[in-house]
C-alpha cells in the first residue's frame, strides 16, 4: 500500500524527466520558505499531464498531488477557474496552511500563462 502511494506521488510530484514541450511556472521563493513549481503538458487546450515540485510542508505536497491528479484531462478554462480555496479543499488543508494553497494556485496560473518550453 505504501509503495502504491509512493508510485502515485512520483507520477505527479517532481519535475518531468524530459521537460521538452511542457509549460512551466513557479511561485514563491526560498527566502519565503515556500516555493511551488508547476509543469503542464498541454495539447489542444487540454492538460494531458500535470506535475508539481514542492518546497513546502506535507499539506502542500498533498494538495499539489491532488490538484495534479484533478488537472489531468481538464481543459485550460476549467484549470483557470481553480483558486486557492478549491485547492485547500481538495486536500482538506488546515486554515493556517492556506497561504500554501494560494502559492500552488499562483504556480498553476504561471504555468498556464507560459509558453511551451524546450528546457530539459
Amino acid at each position: 500500500m505504501a509503495r502504491e502511494a509512493d508510485d502515485e506521488r512520483y507520477a505527479y510530484l517532481g519535475a518531468p524527466s524530459d521537460s521538452t514541450g511542457w509549460q512551466y511556472g513557479q511561485a514563491g521563493s526560498v527566502g519565503a520558505d515556500l516555493r511551488i513549481d508547476c509543469w503542464l503538458d498541454v495539447r489542444d487546450a487540454t492538460i494531458q499531464r500535470a506535475r508539481f515540485e514542492v518546497f513546502a510542508g506535507e499539506q502542500a505536497r498533498c494538495a499539489a498531488l491532488a490538484l495534479a491528479q484533478w488537472l489531468e484531462g481538464r481543459d485550460l478554462e476549467q484549470a483557470r477557474a481553480v483558486n486557492g480555496l478549491d485547492i485547500a479543499a481538495m486536500a482538506d488543508m488546515a486554515d493556517e496552511a492556506r497561504s500554501q494553497a494560494l502559492c500552488i494556485e499562483d504556480a498553476l496560473q504561471a504555468a498556464m500563462n507560459a509558453t511551451r518550453t524546450d528546457r530539459r
Binding site: L13, Q26, V30, R35, F52, E53, V54, F55, G57, E58
Partner: protein, 405 residues
C-alpha cells in the same frame, strides 16, 4: 525501521542503572528518607547524604570552597545565577548595570537576563560567528567597568560548539565582572574544572548526564552575592527554600561521578564521525557547528528539503529539531544567530549521541534519514537547482561561509 534508535541525548538521557540503584537506597521506611532539615538521627543521616553529595560534586568539579545550591534543573540554576545576582547588585545600588549574554545561549539564560531589565539592567546580546562560536571581538568591545555579569554556554545545546571558557574568564575578570557558565550540556561529557574555567557560577542539570529529572545545581563561588528567587523555610543558606530531595541529590552526585571518560568520549566521537560522513554522502548537507565541537551533538541542515516536510517525515525518529527545551516553533534562534537563512535553519536536524548509542543505531538513522531526504529532494524545485549546479549558498542567498558534512 525495526527499532527506533534514540538520538536525542541532548534533550535528555536515560537514567543509568547505577544511578537508579543509588536512588533506591533512599526509598522505603528503612531508607534515609527523612527530611535533612530535621534534627533527629534520621534527619541527620539524610543531611549527611546531602553533604556527601555536595562534596562529591565539588570534588568532580575541581571546585573546593565553592558552594552548591540544589535546584530543580539547569533552568532554575540559570535563573538563580543571573536574576539572583542581578537582584543582589540592585539591592546594593551597584554601578554595574549591564549583563552580556551570547545570542546562541539557551532560552533559560536569555529569558533570565531579559527579566533583569525590571531591575534596571541593560542586556547586551553578543553575536556568534557563522560556525557558532562566540564573537570574541564583540565580547571584548562590550567589556568595561559597567558590566556586572557575562553568561556563556560552555557547550551549545543545539550545535555542540564548545567555548573557550578559560580564555573568556580572563577577559571578563580583568574588567571586574562575574562569569556564569551554563554547563548543562558539557557536564558529564567533557572535562569540567571550575578552577580551570575560573567561573563564578556554573549551572548543571542531572538529567543531561544520566541522572534523574527534576534535580540540578548552581555551583557558585562563595564570594558572590545572590538573592533568593524562592522564599520559605530558609533552606540552603536561605538561597533556595524548600525541602531537599535527598534521593535526587544523591543520584545526581552519583551520575556526575560516572561522567564519560576519555575512552567513552573517543567512542562517541567515532560514532559522530560515522554519522556525519554517512549523512554527508547525500551531498548538500550543511554542518551547523564545528567538527571540533562536543562529540555528542551533530547538527546538520539538508539543503533542498523543506523543514516542515522533513519534520513530518522524521516524526518517528528520536532526533531534535531546534531545542527540545523550548516550546517555540519555527527556525531556531541559535541557527539564526549563526546567520543561517530561515529555510536552511528550518531544515536542520540535531542528532545527539550518548553512552548507550551503538553503531547499529547510527547506521539505521543514516539509512532512514537518507531515504527520507532523497524522497523529498526528488520533488523539490530547490534541490533540482542545486543538483543542476547552483551552489547551496547561491540558492539560499547565504552570505557567510558554509561547511558541509
Amino acid at each position: 525501521m525495526s527499532a527506533q534508535p534514540y538520538l536525542d541525548y541532548a534533550a535528555t538521557t536515560p537514567l543509568d542503572a547505577r544511578v537508579a540503584a543509588v536512588m533506591r537506597q533512599f526509598h522505603g521506611p528503612e531508607a534515609h528518607f527523612a527530611n535533612p532539615a530535621s534534627r533527629h538521627p534520621a534527619g541527620r543521616k539524610a543531611a549527611a547524604a546531602v553533604a556527601e553529595a555536595e562534596a562529591q560534586m565539588l570534588s568532580m568539579l575541581g571546585a573546593p570552597g565553592y558552594r552548591i545550591t540544589w535546584t530543580s534543573g539547569a533552568t532554575e540554576a540559570d535563573n538563580l545565577a543571573i536574576l539572583g545576582f542581578a537582584r543582589a547588585l540592585a539591592k546594593r545600588d551597584s554601578a554595574r548595570r549591564r549583563i552580556l549574554v551570547g545570542a546562541a545561549d539557551h532560552s533559560a539564560v536569555l529569558a533570565a537576563a531579559s527579566a533583569c531589565r525590571e531591575y534596571g539592567f541593560d542586556v547586551v546580546s553578543l553575536g556568534v560567528e557563522a560556525d557558532g562560536r562566540l564573537d570574541i571581538d564583540a565580547l571584548k568591545a562590550q567589556l568595561d567597568d559597567t558590566v556586572a555579569l557575562v553568561s556563556i554556554t560552555h557547550v551549545n545545546n543545539e550545535t555542540g560548539v564548545i567555548e573557550d571558557i578559560a580564555a573568556i574568564s580572563e577577559w571578563v575578570h580583568a574588567h571586574g565582572a562575574k562569569l556564569h557558565v551554563d554547563a548543562a550540556q558539557s557536564a558529564g561529557r567533557i572535562p569540567l574544572a571550575a578552577n580551570a574555567m575560573q567561573a563564578d557560577f556554573i549551572s548543571l542539570s542531572a538529567h543531561k548526564f544520566y541522572g534523574p529529572n527534576g534535580i540540578g545545581a548552581l555551583c557558585h563561588h562563595p564570594a558572590v552575592r545572590l538573592e533568593p528567587l524562592l522564599h520559605g523555610g530558609g533552606q540552603q543558606r536561605g538561597l533556595r527554600s524548600g525541602t531537599l530531595p535527598v534521593a535526587l541529590i544523591a543520584a545526581m552526585a552519583q551520575a556526575f561521578q560516572l561522567a564519560d571518560d576519555a575512552a567513552e568520549q573517543a567512542r562517541q566521537r567515532a560514532l559522530q564521525t560515522r554519522l556525519r560522513e554517512g549523512l554527508g554522502n547525500l551531498g548538500g548537507v550543511v554542518l551547523n557547528g564545528r567538527r571540533d565541537g562536543s562529540a555528542h551533538i551533530l547538527n546538520v541542515s539538508f539543503a533542498g528539503v523543506h523543514g516542515a516536510a522533513l519534520q513530518s517525515a522524521l516524526a518517528d525518529l528520536a532526533v531534535g529539531f531546534g531545542s527540545a527545551c523550548s516550546s517555540h516553533h519555527g527556525p531556531s534562534h541559535v541557527l539564526r544567530a549563526m546567520r543561517r537563512p530561515d529555510a536552511l535553519a528550518h531544515a536542520a536536524v540535531r542528532l545527539s549521541l550518548g553512552r548507550f548509542t551503538q553503531p547499529d543505531d547510527i547506521d539505521q538513522a543514516i539509512e532512514f534519514i537518507s531515504r527520507v531526504v532523497s524522497e523529498l529532494r526528488a520533488s523539490s524545485p530547490v534541490w533540482r537547482e542545486i543538483d543542476q549546479g547552483e551552489s547551496v549558498a547561491s540558492v539560499y542567498a547565504v552570505t557567510t561561509p558554509l561547511e558541509f558534512a
